[in-house]
């Protein structure tokens, strides 16, 4: 039998991007969205997540390890390809290129984001509304975070589309087209939730609620 390490690695990469990384992304955005109802509401939701049982096991096996694998193997995939959108400017080819660009950007963004929040928390910082409001008060960080949110929602939505093709869920051109519309909807809805939460951290009225 031929070696099929590559097949396993690619399919694992595709699966982990949706479950658990994609599911975690949605959960993270929904918790963030509590900021829209005020600081105390967000802090309560964040505290609830922090006090989940088996917190470290959940963090390691549902977030860090899958994310790390997806990031590292994803970088390998991204640099294996040779983008040619200038010669072939088709919609799917541009999506192919953007998937890789957002992926590489997200490795940088998420590394910074984890350092600033979760690693800071491990050294005793309090992850709460004020921490985020403080971070986002810098215009550069605000732009960086908005770009990070949009890159993440795009990468997830478009990743869902290629997940469906890679596992053979959508075979026909029509089914792939319908999946394109589904992924556009996912992108718009998640972007709305994510951006709305960011804006909530900028509102001084919400900080005292």
């Amino acid at each position: 039998m031929p070696q099929n390490q590559e097949f396993f690695n690619r399919r694992l990469h595709s699966l982990l991007g949706v479950i658990p990384v994609g599911v975690f992304l949605i959960q993270h955005f929904i918790i963030n969205h509590f900021a829209v109802y005020g600081a105390s509401s967000f802090n309560a939701a964040a505290h609830f997540m922090e006090s989940l049982p088996f917190r470290y096991a959940l963090e390691i096996f549902v977030i860090f390890l899958p994310l790390l694998y997806h990031a590292i193997y994803g970088l390998y995939i991204a640099f294996l390809g040779k983008s040619n959108t200038r010669r072939y400017g088709f919609f799917r080819n541009i999506m192919f290129m953007l998937q890789r660009v957002t992926g590489v950007f997200l490795v940088i963004f998420i590394a910074w984001h984890v350092w600033e929040t979760r690693v800071a928390a491990a050294f005793g910082a309090d992850v709460n509304y004020d921490m985020m409001a403080d971070i986002l008060s810098s215009p550069f960080m605000l732009v960086f975070y908005i770009a990070g949110v949009l890159a993440a929602t795009f990468h997830f939505a478009n990743g869902l589309w290629s997940f469906a093709v890679s596992w053979g869920l959508t075979v026909t051109p029509r089914s792939q087209k319908i999946m394109t519309y589904v992924s556009i909807t996912v992108f718009l809805v998640l972007s709305y939730i994510g951006i709305r939460a960011i804006i909530a951290f900028l509102d001084p009225a919400l900080a005292n609620m």
């Binding site: 031929p2 390490q5 040779k82 040619n84 290629s162 075979v171």
Partner: protein
């Protein structure tokens, strides 16, 4: 008499597989209904560049001259296609001719497409019918299925889909779209189906289908309009099922 119309060509040339490429410009008299091959023949007749420099005749590959063999594929004005059906009157001038650099360049416009033929061997893109005795007629194929299979059988291994693919390059050993679609063709055949598992396992192996990045350039570029991305997705589905069978075992039915 009006002035003689001419056609200008900018040809990417390379003297040997290891030499570095350079371009040369040629100008030839225009003829009615000229294709790129007849223009190359004209250049061969008198290989003098526009600067008046004597040059060697341009080397290219060709065979059938009716877009069924795939040998004369090259990149014409940025688009990989067959030079036999590239009509000069339909092209913007100067016409740029380059080899399909995804493949190793042998000389000028000639490339070595061996990797595709090796891939066809790897995935067993044929139907074994030889035995030590007469096996009799095979099972019949439904007419609607035959018509469907005919579309996939139009593949001429020209290499245009591999040239257009961002994941087929010197850094990656991705098999490319053309051999994948042939697996689908032979797996769909009533007799070919008997070797279905061998072909799927070959595609699941390293340097198989796994590295497809779904840019879908192949289906846009294919000169024969073969539904390559449908074949890829269908085989992804078959490979998913086959991997479960390989892992959990199967009762082979």
């Amino acid at each position: 008499m009006s002035e003689q119309k001419t056609v200008r060509f900018i040809v990417t040339r390379q003297d040997s597989p290891d030499a570095s490429p350079y371009t040369e410009e040629f100008e030839i008299p225009h003829r009615e209904n000229m294709n790129v091959i007849s223009a190359l023949m004209e250049i061969r007749r008198n290989p003098v560049t526009v600067d008046g420099k004597d040059s060697a005749p341009v080397v290219w590959d060709m065979n059938c001259l009716e877009e069924v063999c795939g040998a004369c594929s090259m990149v014409i004005n940025g688009k990989p296609r067959q030079s036999c059906t590239a009509l000069v009157d339909q092209l913007d001038q100067p016409i740029r001719l380059e080899p399909m650099k995804t493949f190793p360049v042998v000389r000028d416009l000639v490339v070595d497409r061996s990797r595709m033929f090796d891939s066809l061997k790897k995935v067993k893109a044929w139907i074994p019918i030889d035995g030590t005795y007469d096996l009799g007629p095979g099972p019949r194929m439904a007419e609607n299925k035959r018509q469907w299979a005919y579309e996939l059988s139009k593949c001429m291994t020209c290499g245009v889909c591999l040239e257009a693919c961002p994941n087929v390059n010197s850094k990656s050993d991705f098999i490319g779209p053309a051999p994948v679609s042939q697996v689908r063709l032979f797996n769909a055949h009533p007799t070919g189906e008997m070797n279905r598992e061998d072909r799927l396992n070959a595609l699941m192996g390293d340097g198989g289908l796994s590295n497809c990045g779904n840019s879908q350039n192949c289906v846009q570029a294919c000169p024969k309009g073969i539904p390559l991305t449908t074949s890829i997705a269908a085989l992804n589905r078959d490979m998913t099922m086959q991997s479960f069978k390989n892992f959990f075992g199967s009762d082979k039915l």
